[in-house]
């Protein structure tokens, strides 16, 4: 039986060392004789300590079905310099547009993506495959048996989503249109939907 403050420290150690988001079930499997309530208590105490706050370089976020420690965005520039600029670049608009189609319509084939975008998409899809943001999920049983593409766990991690269910419904984006005269305005509104998913600035780890 592990002591309560040891439990919290052990959780901290595991999250620090893990290279992937750790599901809570995996954590609970680590400690014998610890009831779920104690674990939850220790976790929320730990997460409270790892809130984004001034003077803190790390915080705990819940993403892709697990918990992980990430760096505070304020220190991006230093990390980029430290890792010699490898990674840490924004995705192109074409990549994000394609990613949105795959995310909302998965599993989806290349011709379907192209039909929706109205243009060639092979290069973009290849790029997304390499970044592991999408994967081949099988083949569609139609003429030519084209590959079906889906999003990956990496996609969830990239966009800070706990699961695909956290994507705002596509229909919500429609409401911001129509009679709205200013595109910029309607765009601003639609962003509100995702603010919740972006737990960066508002402070992650509240809900769990």
């Amino acid at each position: 039986m592990i002591r309560r403050d040891d439990l919290e420290a052990a959780l901290e150690a595991v999250l620090f060392a893990a290279a992937q988001p750790v599901p809570v079930e995996r954590l609970s499997g680590l400690f014998e004789g610890v009831v779920a309530a104690d674990l939850a208590g220790a976790l929320s105490a730990l997460r409270a300590r790892y809130q984004p706050a001034p003077g803190r370089g790390l915080f705990i976020e819940e993403v892709a079905g697990g918990l992980r420690i990430v760096t505070a965005p304020e220190y991006h520039a230093y990390l980029k310099r430290f890792f010699d600029a490898a990674g840490g670049n924004k995705l192109s608009m074409a990549a994000i547009e394609t990613l949105a189609i795959v995310a909302y319509r998965q599993p989806v084939t290349m011709p379907e993506v192209q039909e929706m975008r109205g243009k060639q998409s092979q290069a973009v899809i290849r790029n997304l495959l390499e970044k592991r943001l999408v994967r081949i999920a099988g083949r569609k049983e139609v003429v030519g048996r084209p590959f079906l593409y889906s999003t990956t766990r990496e996609f969830l991690m990239h966009f800070g989503l706990k699961g695909l269910g956290e994507l705002p419904p596509l229909e919500e984006f429609e409401e911001t249109f129509g009679s709205e005269p200013s595109e910029a305005e309607s765009r601003g509104e639609s962003h509100v939907e995702l603010q919740a998913a972006v737990e960066v600035e508002s402070g992650s780890g509240e809900e769990s």
Binding site: F16, A17, A18, A19, Q20, R68, I69, V70, T71, A72, P73, E74, Y75, H76, L79, G88, K90, L91, M93, I96, E97, L99, A100, I101, A103, Y104, M116, R117, G118, K119, Q120, L129, E130, R132, R135, I136, T152, R153, M157, H158, F159, G160, L167, P168, L170, E171, F173, E174, T176, F177, E183, S186, R187, S190, H191, L194, A197, V198, V200, E201
Partner: protein, 263 residues
């Protein structure tokens, strides 16, 4: 269907320099719909079609590469326009079919606009989360038998593994050292044999052939002897024991002789 002004009046005076670059034909269509202040669900196809083609002409004038997708969309618009000009199809009862040929285009444009908005939102998240770094698997861990989520093994993992195998194979089985093959021009053998014969004694050609380093050189030497004989620079005799003996004749080597050998 409201009548929209001509495209020239919709574009700013300085359109030649400020021609917006559209992100694909659907983007252009949305832009035209906005310019005409019409609803997506009630597109004045003839007007939009004309403006779309006008835009393609502008692109042409400006020497922009018009991607095939624009032309495809332009063709779809013409097809749609012609459908609208035809009398409404009637079903078997003679009643007009209550179906707008524009529906498909409308659905596509609505879907595209939704996706574009969703993409904008995702881009915002991408931007905000850019600065978040998490621990990555160390390189050594990825090399070892890494526990992979089976579902997540992609073609690229396979390709990566395959490349690793190939690299290891190449490391363990370095390419053999290759020496460039020697070539034996007839001219070289010609000069070698002539040199030996000029030096004095007649000699046994069969023995000479046997001491060549390889088949190619022997063939070349044989051809050289034929050349020497043709140019009457040597005489060829066979002894009773079967040896083939070459004798140098008195004829001098002429420049054109060598040219004929090279030829």
């Amino acid at each position: 269907m409201s009548q929209a002004p001509a495209v020239s009046s919709l574009l700013p005076d300085t359109w030649r320099v400020h021609l917006p670059v559209f992100d694909g034909p659907l983007d252009l269509l949305l832009h035209l719909i906005k310019l005409n202040e019409v609803e997506i669900t009630d597109i004045p196809v003839a007007t939009i079609c004309a403006q779309f083609h006008e835009y393609l002409r502008l692109m042409e004038e400006m020497d922009l590469d018009i991607a095939g997708e624009y032309i495809y969309e332009a063709a779809l618009l013409i097809q749609l326009k012609s459908k609208l000009l035809l009398p409404h199809p009637r079903n078997t009862d003679g009643e007009p079919v209550d179906e707008d040929p524009r529906d498909e285009l409308v659905q596509r444009l609505l879907e595209y606009r939704r996706i574009k908005e969703a993409a904008q939102a995702l881009a915002e998240v991408d931007r905000m989360r850019l600065g978040l770094w998490a621990r990555r698997k160390p390189a050594w861990e990825q090399d070892e038998g890494e526990e992979l989520d089976l579902d997540e093994v992609s073609l690229f993992d396979l390709l990566g593994a395959f490349r690793g195998v190939l690299e290891r194979y190449d490391r363990e089985n370095p390419d053999p050292i290759r020496l460039p093959g020697e070539s034996f021009p007839v001219r070289g053998q010609f000069e070698r044999l002539l040199g030996i014969l000029n030096a004095g004694a007649p000699f046994d050609f069969i023995h000479d052939l046997r001491t060549r380093t390889c088949r190619a050189e022997a063939i070349s030497a044989f051809l050289a002897v034929l050349e020497l004989a043709r140019l009457r620079l040597v005489r060829i005799h066979q002894t009773e024991s079967g040896a083939i003996v070459l004798y140098r004749t008195t004829r001098d080597l002429a420049a054109e002789d060598l040219e004929s050998v090279d030829a």
